[in-house]
């Protein structure tokens, strides 16, 4: 493909992907409030628009017009760029997420992914790791005790659960033999006995559970939301942030949630593949969206169900339970793959 048309296709894809992600973030905040409300026998936002449907737009506009306060004693430059350092990794991770099979639109060929890197998974982990810098820099630069403690805790939590996440994925790699997310998805095509989709979740149930737990902890969500435990740390690392900078942190948090859910549906639930051959007339991106939304609903559900754990329990669980379990799962998978191949 020529360089010009390649850039054009890329720009269109980025615009669409970013638009969908930001829209999902906006309506994820709405869905979260609504679902939690219904779980608690309330109605949730009802005032702005029908059933409160315009609430996210009102919230966004409000934050846009709010004063930007930089506390005295803060390191101004780091304080100012920390939200961007947090947001950019959460967004560019989507560059390697395959949202559809190859297709042709207006005579231009699209691969269904912005860039099919041959090291896609490693890229996502490398980029997601950068997000921790934004958190810890934001917490440190605020010159506030709550923000500082929140930043430290958050960084410790993110790196601890990143290990379990990394180990749990190796099992999937053993099955698909590639780091490219397109290949991983394509390896899950077809069915067993005509009705069970060949998804990795059926071969790697332990890895899936470990991945989901690690994903919840990675994104600092309840019941693992130590860094922002409202009752003790006010708001954690973004205590001092206001207005647009606050909303960028918020976007990053929800963007990360969508990214790990997308990744879970690609690695374990067949990505854009339809579960049954009969359902293949429905386009791939609809399937990916349905699977991702189901996981996002699960995130809200556990928030509404479980109480917060203590920080020492959280670290203990990550290091003493999840890591041994995922390592054992990896060895069992390797043995299984070896025996199956011979």
């Amino acid at each position: 493909m020529e360089i010009g048309s390649m850039v054009a296709v890329t720009l269109v894809q980025i615009a669409v992907v970013m638009g969908v992600v930001l829209l999902t973030v906006a309506y994820m905040t709405y869905a979260e409030r609504k679902v939690l409300s219904f779980m608690q026998d309330r109605l949730g936002p009802m005032e702005v628009g029908p059933w409160g449907l315009l609430q996210p737009i009102a919230d966004g506009l409000k934050l846009f017009f709010k004063e930007d306060i930089i506390p005295s004693g803060a390191n101004k430059i780091i304080f100012a760029v920390a939200p961007i350092i947090c947001l950019v990794p959460a967004l560019i991770g989507f560059a390697v997420i395959p949202y559809n099979g190859s297709f042709t639109l207006f005579g231009l060929e699209g691969g269904g992914v912005i860039s099919d890197l041959n090291v896609g998974l490693l890229y996502i982990f490398a980029v997601a790791g950068m997000g921790a810098y934004g958190v810890i820099l934001g917490g440190w630069a605020s010159n506030s005790k709550y923000a500082f403690l929140g930043g430290l805790r958050s960084a410790a939590q993110i790196i601890s659960y990143e290990l379990a996440m990394g180990f749990s994925i190796v099992g999937v790699l053993l099955l698909s033999g590639s780091l490219s997310l397109v290949t991983v998805t394509e390896a899950q095509a077809g069915t067993w006995f005509g009705f069970i989709p060949q998804w990795n979740i059926f071969l790697q149930p332990v890895a899936f559970v470990a991945y989901v737990i690690a994903a919840v902890a990675e994104t600092n969500r309840l019941p693992f939301d130590m860094p922002e435990a409202e009752s003790e740390l006010v708001a954690g690392f973004f205590t001092e942030y206001s207005g647009m900078r606050f909303s960028l942190f918020f976007l990053a948090e929800y963007g990360n949630m969508i990214l790990v859910s997308c990744l879970a549906s690609i690695l374990f639930l067949g990505g854009y593949k339809a579960p049954l051959p009969i359902l293949e007339f429905i386009p791939g991106f609809v399937w990916l969206a349905l699977k991702t939304w189901a996981l996002l609903f699960f995130f809200i559900w556990i928030r509404g169900t479980y109480p917060r754990v203590r920080f020492d329990q959280l670290m203990k669980f990550g290091w003493k339970v999840l890591i041994p379990v995922t390592l054992a799962n990896l060895l069992v998978t390797a043995l299984g793959v070896y025996i199956y191949n011979n």
């Binding site: 506390p71 961007i84 950019v88 912005i114 890229y123 010159n143 780091l179």
Partner: protein, 128 residues
């Protein structure tokens, strides 16, 4: 210049979209922040700019010494994360290297587990 990008063998072509995405995402962050400058109020006084400490005037600097544990966790993370990254290429080529790869990885994980048990025994994973 054109051949430079068009060659399929040359991997950086795949990274061009990533670079564009990076610039757009970063630009999005900066533009929303700078655009807000023209519409939002900017009325600051001393009390408003104080770091939040439950309403009382803040005591001492926030950047105080913090527990060693965070350093230990960070060091352990670096060690184990390198191991994890080492397993990725192994997992990708596992079907081609067969028994040799399996035994090698068993040895590797044994060494890893020895270090893990040592850290556990030394109390590096405790948080009380």
């Amino acid at each position: 210049m054109r051949e430079f990008f068009v060659t399929t063998e040359f991997v950086p072509t795949d990274y061009l979209p990533v670079l564009i995405f990076f610039l757009i995402a970063g630009g999005f962050g900066f533009v929303t922040m700078i655009a807000g400058r023209f519409v939002r109020p900017q009325v600051s006084y001393r009390e408003k700019l104080l770091p939040y400490e439950c309403g009382a005037p803040p005591i001492s600097d926030a950047r105080q010494p913090f527990p060693m544990r965070y350093y230990i966790i960070a060091m352990l993370f670096v060690l184990f994360d390198i191991e994890a990254v080492f397993m990725y290429p192994w997992a990708v080529v596992f079907n081609q290297i067969g028994l040799y790869g399996l035994v090698e990885m068993l040895l590797f994980i044994t060494i890893l587990v020895i270090g893990y048990v040592y850290a556990w025994g030394k109390g590096a994973l405790e948080w009380d």
